[in-house]
């Protein structure tokens, strides 16, 4: 009931959502690449092996915390463009509170507990820059401690 994937290929959030099944409540979050300040290319580096393990741990913790019939985490790595789906998290449960809370938990923890690094390239510059972590992400993750 826990599915975790890290992949170079694009994915279809609709397909992932349907794969969560038809429990009473199915909730999901999809993150897309933003074109902030002229970002043209986003590259995602990760730590193969540790990334999958970290995502499986986060999904297992969600399943321990809420009564879930399915949990799904999909994260792209490699080169992406604005608008591309970069991350999908979803949870299915009998009731909406568990599904919605589990979804928020999955994406909040993923932001701080999984080894991914973003690098942005802008159309008006040759230099690519590594994205700095945001304190707001740490705060969002900490509310589940």
């Amino acid at each position: 009931m826990i599915t975790v994937r890290v992949q170079l290929e694009p994915f279809d959030p609709g397909v992932e959502l349907v794969a969560l099944g038809t429990a009473g409540a199915v909730a999901s979050f999809t993150g897309h690449v933003r074109a902030d300040d002229g970002v043209a290319i986003l590259e995602l580096e990760h730590y193969p092996g540790m990334t999958e393990r970290a995502l499986e741990d986060i999904a297992a913790q969600a399943a321990d915390r809420w009564a879930l019939s399915a949990v799904r985490v999909v994260h792209r790595v490699g080169r992406m463009q604005p608008g591309d789906a970069i991350v999908f998290v979803g949870a299915a449960s009998a009731h909406r509170a568990a599904a919605l809370e589990a979804c928020a938990y999955l994406i909040d923890r993923l932001k701080t507990d999984a080894p991914f690094w973003k690098r942005e390239s802008r159309a008006n510059s040759d230099a690519a820059s590594w994205v700095e972590p945001r304190a707001a992400d740490d705060d969002a993750a900490a509310r589940w401690d």
Partner: protein
């Protein structure tokens, strides 16, 4: 004992390698001491390790603090704070 060190993101770029197999001296017992010792290996290493507070670490694919002991580690990774999602 020899250990594999992996580098990611700007740490990898500064060091100029994504991995190396090294044998730290016996008096290097914690991640923080390892970072200090790695900094002596080359100019690139020194640049990558210049501000330990900007580094995060994992031992055998689990996050650790820089105070963690490295005894028994098979794979150590050094990288910036994560920015996924």
């Amino acid at each position: 004992m020899a250990v594999d060190i992996l580098y990611f993101a700007w740490v990898r770029e500064a060091v100029g390698a994504d991995a190396e197999r090294i044998e730290p001296p016996e008096d290097v017992t914690t991640m923080r001491e390892l970072v200090g010792w790695l900094a002596t290996r080359s100019e690139g290493h020194a640049a990558a390790m210049a501000e330990p507070a900007r580094l995060r670490a994992a031992i055998d694919q689990h996050f650790v603090t820089l105070d963690a002991p490295i005894a028994g580690a098979r794979e150590i990774a050094l990288f910036p704070p994560v920015t996924g999602g």
